[in-house]
Symmetry: C2
Subunit: 397 residues, 2 copies
């Protein structure tokens, strides 16, 4: 038997495969998994928030009472009671969302893949903010679009730029709350402007919102979905409020678009685990999230506060950083002459890790930015890591 | 709030979306779900074979002992112990398969999607047998290939045709055992010929094998994978031997191709449920399948025998049908003048359902074929349904 490299074999690969990049972050997580490293690199939620006992109990109950249904093939658009539960929860601001608008997906990332299948042709114009979620860039890239960066400032997408360059775009990707990687939140006025502009140009907005529930103060800005549910596709996930390991998310879209997502999903993986959907419904139907989410918010708010305080104490004044109102990330802008990739290597040598900013730009624009995550590191270690990183940066000024 | 049709809104859809078809079978299953219907239409395994108690126990153990790991994000290529277990199980005929060749996927259907991402460009030549698995046609179609039908006879793909039309193809799709929809099995000699021909032309063979373990007699023909593991991609699934509702399968490929599948999977859904993988490993690691699979084989063999005996008794001699050595399906060829779609409607009116054959042909060739599944219908009902169907067909001769 010979096992060879497919390139050596001249296996006939697709164009997209030849251009495929692995996630810089997932690769980097392998480097930073050493226990001695203080890692601000992860995008993982805190496992202390996983309701293990409750889920165990729900698996028990579902398998005991409905094992044959839970373990059989299920409907492509999802388990009906869970779809109804999500539709009810998403019906806010006087707008009724129907279960026929809900497609259950195997995590938000799959929502991005299915939306790309339905909306993107090779060469299609696709608008993204800068910087933006790396996973979205990867998902879109599989369908070979013309990715165009929309100018973004401290509070997110600049609506005028969307109006100027958006005509003919297949979609605008717009995560509204505590965005990954910057932690910034799009203000209400900009949401309204973007919804109006995109409706006029007939460009669907993809409102990807995995962090929306993690507002430290509990405030919530109106979703773009409820400003125009015929032109906005909303994506949600159980990864940050329950557990990511089960891969469960959802897409809310106009009914006819939902039917297309259903067909695309049928071709992609038939359906999402029936068992997992039934268990999550079982675990959540009694209002559990109303007690659980505040616990996560409190924990993350304290972790964030600890990191911000340490940055205040230990980071040189030449640095700028965001002060998120929720979520899991702080975004740091270094003086222009410091390359964050280079800094990363020196920092890891001192057992502190973060994510360099360049992968979050579709065209690798800024080399002087980095992302810090604070949710999984014990608080004394946060101070220690930030102090060490601050000293390293100071040595370069 | 207005909810409108995306076409009415002129939402900018992709070309593939405009051409998307829903699975005729999944749509049909909705029609045939009425309890009074004797349905031979499903492709579902028998829920009587699901080891519910064992899985419940495994969920308990994994969540109790390793809850925080099981519920956290996991590696894109899969849970390492499960990958090793699969590699060991796939190492047969003196050929060693390494865990680095194994990618865990969310069901075989996802394997087809990922392989398409990596191998197919718009317009690429893709070879399929006739008739073939509908889900594969759907998965490939998302990437807009030029699907070419390879002549196939009672024992499957005709190697000479592959040699004649295969040059430059991106892949040959070749389910070897008890194929869906026909139940036919590719003989050893043809496997060897196909492997040799495709190696010469540098066309990867996709050996999709969800039914291979369900040989009634327990015999197993050598996998094409072990004839040339550098040129054959093997796909397996837990859907037919454990449970489909959890969505778990795997792809065995040359290591460098596996790395590409990993990148494609990262962009597609990050990873398959970590919890599910750990639970399946927990449930199977002690050799459970060695006791469990023979139980499924015996059940399906008896069900198949019942249906074949009934067909012998009640079907007019003008009909031809396959006699599978394993799996879940029998394929019927009617006299040419009978349209099986038309027959389906009349048959459902008499409370008997099957799947008309046309969707299994990429170019809708034969209108006089149909698929019967026997695994989920109680045996007296099998006889009753076949008798009724036989009379209906006889009335048309």
């Amino acid at each position: 038997m010979k096992i060879e490299d497919p390139h050596a074999l001249h296996l006939p690969l697709s164009e997209r495969a030849k251009n495929m990049k692995s996630s810089a972050i997932r690769d980097l997580l392998k480097v930073t998994a050493r226990p001695e490293i203080i890692s601000f690199a992860g995008g993982l939620p805190s496992p202390d928030t996983f309701p293990i006992a409750r889920l165990k109990d729900a698996f028990d109950r579902v398998l005991s009472a409905q094992g044959k249904v839970a373990l059989q093939y299920g409907p492509t658009d999802g388990y009906a009671p869970l779809r109804e539960w999500i539709a009810d929860r998403m019906s806010t601001d006087g707008v009724r969302i129907g279960p026929e608008q809900v497609t259950i997906v195997s995590g938000s990332q799959q929502g991005l893949d299915l939306l790309s299948k339905v909306l993107i042709d090779k060469g299609s114009k696709v608008l993204v903010e800068t910087p933006t979620y790396l996973g979205a860039l990867q998902a879109f890239s599989m369908y070979e679009p013309d990715l165009q960066s929309v100018e973004s400032d401290d509070i997110g997408l600049v609506p005028e730029t969307v109006a100027r360059i958006g005509q003919g775009a297949r979609l605008l990707y717009a995560p509204p709350n505590f965005q990954n990687p910057t932690g910034r939140t799009l203000p209400l006025s900009r949401r309204r402007e973007l919804v109006a502009i995109c409706a006029r140009m007939n460009v669907p907005i993809i409102e990807d919102d995995p962090y929306g529930e993690l507002s430290y103060g509990g405030e919530r800005l109106q979703k773009m979905l409820t400003m125009n549910s015929a032109g906005v596709v909303h994506m949600g996930s159980f990864s940050k409020i329950l557990t990511p390991g089960i891969r469960l998310g959802y897409v809310i879209a106009p009914p006819a678009l939902s039917r297309m997502l259903e067909k695309a999903k049928q071709a992609t993986d038939l359906h999402t685990s029936q068992l997992t959907q039934m268990v999550v419904y079982e675990a959540l139907k009694d209002g559990f999230l109303d007690q659980h989410i505040p616990v996560i918010r409190r924990l993350y708010a304290e972790q964030c506060e600890t990191m911000l305080a340490a940055m205040q104490d230990f980071f040189p004044p030449a640095l700028k950083w965001t002060r998120p109102d929720g979520g899991m990330f702080i975004w740091v802008t270094l003086p222009r002459h410091i390359d964050s990739q280079q800094l990363f290597e020196e920092s890891v040598a001192q057992d502190v890790a973060f994510v360099p900013g360049t992968p979050f730009y579709p065209a690798n624009l800024a080399t002087n930015t980095l992302r810090l995550s604070f949710v999984t590191v014990p608080r004394p270690r946060i101070r220690e890591g930030i102090e060490r990183l601050g000293k390293l940066i100071a040595s370069k000024l």
